[in-house]
């Protein structure tokens, strides 16, 4: 117990220095928390993907469409429960800086395959009835103030011309891992107009999403689907939703690497600051340590004293930083448009990593002063002048 009191007294000896160190650690832990959250936000799509969904797209790349006629052929495969299709529409709403996903879908089946988008039954019926209607996500509705009955005008690029969609429903994400920033409208509405204006592009969808009964069979079913269209003008590539999402992330791998690297640099900086404080304190106390040793304090006591102080400071800093991370991340998330990172939550793993890195820093920062305190001979220590 006495040792703890001594640790506390030692830590408080230079109040300003200790306070500054704690502050530095807190800031670093906060930055670490933010960076990790950005990294996990990238992976959010992978985590949110369902095991029972397959995605079939054109084999060349995702920008090429697939014939609408593939739908029935895919649906005939046994153990395929439901097939739906989506078509990336893009276009410009207000100006080019307002991104959110705008997609043409099949109103009958899309919510069967994506049960995580929750929609009131009356709104669903209203959406199905009206060709030019659309559904928007709750987060999107909040950002732009969309209400039922509003008209959303969009200037097409891939599908040229002016388009207008009436909001007939607002879907709610089932939980925090679901993207609430998308807009869906009738594929038929798109196709009708394309048929009139550029007939050679009619009857095409972006990609198919297949719900299967047994996730264990996903490999076999994928091969079956791709086999159907082998050697056709539009060959397909089918993979699980998870693999599809991972492909997107792998393509941006350099950024993930850079951010991971930076989060380690942060830990390095905390280590330097805490280490510096501990080295200074230990040097100033060289004479005291010699006195302790003369009085018969064991090496274990000395280690406990220095390690304890280092741990106390880094845990206080880590705790404070973690406590501040939540409002800080919330502030960042409010500052960037919701559609940039549709899913932005602090994952438990981020908290665990933050705490454990503060612990590691506490241990490492005390190594050098401990080594010095233990190896300095009592006589030299007593002779030492600050």
């Amino acid at each position: 117990m006495k040792v703890f009191k001594l640790i506390l007294k030692n830590a408080l000896r230079h109040k300003l220095r200790t306070a500054l160190t704690i502050l530095a650690i807190a800031i670093a832990v906060m930055a670490f928390g933010l960076l990790r959250t950005v990294v996990t936000a990238w992976y959010a799509g992978v985590d949110a993907s369902a095991a029972n969904r397959l995605i079939t797209r054109q084999a060349i790349s995702f920008i090429f469409p697939l014939p609408y006629s593939y739908r029935d052929q895919i649906a005939k495969i046994p153990s395929v429960e439901q097939v739906t299709y989506l078509n990336w529409f893009q276009g410009v709403y207000i100006d080019k800086n307002q991104f959110f996903a705008r997609m043409a879908v099949d109103p009958e089946t899309v919510f069967d395959v994506y049960p995580e988008f929750l929609l009131e039954p009356e709104q669903f019926q209203a959406f199905k009835r009206e060709r030019s209607s659309c559904i928007v996500g709750a987060d999107l509705a909040k950002q732009y103030g969309f209400k039922l009955g509003d008209i959303i005008p969009i200037e097409g690029d891939i599908y040229p011309g002016s388009w207008q969609f009436v909001v007939r429903g607002i879907y709610k994400p089932r939980d925090k891992t679901v993207d609430g920033t998308q807009m869906f409208f009738h594929w038929q509405y798109l196709d009708e107009r394309v048929r009139k204006e550029s007939p050679d592009r009619a009857g095409q969808v972006g990609w198919y999403v297949i719900r299967i009964a047994d996730p264990a069979q996903s490999g076999a079913i994928s091969n079956q689907v791709d086999g159907l269209f082998k050697n056709s003008r539009a060959e397909t590539k089918t993979e699980t939703e998870r693999a599809f999402q991972q492909g997107f992330i792998a393509a941006a791998g350099a950024f993930i690497t850079a951010m991971n690297f930076m989060s380690f640099v942060i830990i390095g900086i905390i280590m330097l600051v805490v280490g510096n404080t501990m080295i200074m304190s230990a040097r100033e106390r060289t004479r005291e340590y010699a006195v302790f040793k003369t009085l018969g304090f064991s090496a274990g006591h000395m280690v406990g004293l220095i390690l304890g102080e280092s741990m106390l400071i880094s845990m206080l800093g880590g705790g404070l930083g973690l406590f501040l991370t939540f409002p800080f991340v919330a502030g960042f998330s409010a500052a960037v448009p919701k559609s940039f990172f549709p899913i932005f939550n602090i994952e438990p793993i981020t908290v665990i990593l933050g705490v454990s890195s503060a612990l590691v820093v506490g241990v490492i920062a005390s190594i050098f002063p401990i080594q010095r305190a233990l190896t300095t001979r009592i006589v030299d220590g007593l002779r030492h002048t600050g």
Binding site: D157, R233, A251, A252, I269
Partner: protein
């Protein structure tokens, strides 16, 4: 300053780390921008659909392209044909050398393309034969993607395309593309429209004149001409902006940590030299000089840290990164690039850290009471 070598060293190292990251982030953003700016030329004009975010989402049918080419100020070659290239731009998936698929831009080009873009040269092999399903590949693609070297066959659109040559464009975005015959690509993809149309102006500085003629043509209302360089620069904005915002946000937080580190060191330095300060003051040095001396020490420390950080950051220029450009959704290779303004802002940043970190301790030193300072030994 020489006393407490270890502590001083650690402080310098802290500043160096922060400056290294700060410079690296700016160099990365600048690298993306530099690559894409080099892609376009000031004398070329690129026409795309007004609403399009990039080349792949733009569509220009042949009829429209022909209307555009009748406008004044378009440069003609010696046989009277316009120096222009109507280009379908698509994305295909290829395997990266390190594993994983990525998106590669395939551009259909017409005969005039080397007159239009003189910076692009054939580095190895030969140009594709017009009318054959052959491709030439940019040097970065050849390096980073498996199966895209000379002699390899790339399979897409139900056909086999042989790679017959490698292009080099001095680090521009074309190094990250594959080129083929426009007619072959349109035919293979079953398309009948270009993505964009690029042509040369007959003299510099006539763009405004050209643009007003363009905007008067009622059939071209959905399209927009841009200086080619400007167009590609815009393609870099999304990504360069993202890197910059995130990077600066993070380094500012880092710097708070390093500044506090400097502050701790300087407070210790002041405490350590209380007697010295007392002596100096007794000898007649003013408070102001003491303040300046400590502040100068702190700034010197952080400036050294800044130089060390920059020194190591400058080696990053040897590395090039190949990754997905969000602006165009396809692979783009670029190098870290250092510019004078990055050097200056990194050093200013370091000095600012020293100034902020050293100010309070220096004030404390300057305000020491002579008598008690001398006695404190």
């Amino acid at each position: 300053m020489g006393t407490r070598r270890l502590t001083t060293g650690i402080t310098v190292l802290g500043v160096a780390l922060v400056v290294f990251v700060f410079a690296a982030v700016l160099m990365m953003a600048y690298g993306v921008q530099k690559t894409l700016v080099a892609t376009g030329s000031d004398q070329n004009v690129l026409v795309a659909r007004k609403a399009a975010n990039g080349e792949i989402s733009s569509i220009i049918d042949r009829e429209t392209a022909n209307i555009i080419l009748t406008l004044p100020h378009i440069a003609k070659s010696s046989d009277g044909k316009p120096i222009a290239s109507g280009e379908p731009v698509v994305i295909i998936n290829l395997d990266k050398v390190g594993g994983g698929l990525s998106n590669v831009t395939v551009r259909g080009v017409s005969l005039q393309v080397f007159t239009l873009r003189p910076q692009v040269r054939l580095k190895e092999g030969r140009m594709f034969t017009w009318g054959a399903r052959e491709l030439v590949t940019g040097v970065s693609i050849a390096k980073n993607f498996a199966g895209s070297q000379i002699g390899n066959v790339v399979r897409f659109a139900g056909d086999n395309w042989t790679v017959v040559g490698i292009l080099d464009s001095d680090g521009s975005g074309f190094d990250s593309e594959m080129w083929g015959d426009v007619e072959q690509l349109l035919d293979a993809f079953n398309r009948n429209a270009y993505s964009t149309l690029t042509f040369r102006l007959d003299q510099p500085d006539v763009f405004t004149e050209f643009a007003s003629a363009f905007n008067k043509e009622p059939r071209l209302q959905q399209f927009e001409p841009k200086i080619e360089r400007r167009f590609f620069e815009e393609q870099s904005e999304l990504m360069a902006g993202f890197i910059r915002i995130l990077g600066i946000f993070i380094t500012v937080i880092f710097s708070a940590g390093a500044t506090i580190g400097a502050m701790i060191t300087m407070y210790a330095a002041v405490a350590n030299r209380t007697v010295e300060v007392g002596t100096l003051r007794a000898l007649g040095f003013r408070r102001r000089s003491v303040l300046a001396a400590f502040l100068a020490e702190s700034i010197l420390l952080s400036l050294i840290g800044g130089l060390v950080g920059l020194f190591f950051a400058s080696f990053l220029q040897l590395f090039s990164i190949s990754t997905l450009n969000f602006g165009s959704f396809s692979e783009l290779a670029f190098s870290f690039a250092l510019s004078p303004s990055i050097v200056i802002s990194s050093l200013l940043f370091a000095v600012a850290m020293g100034l902020v970190g050293g100010f309070l301790p220096s004030v404390r030193a300057a305000r020491l009471n002579i008598v008690s300072a001398l006695r404190s030994a």
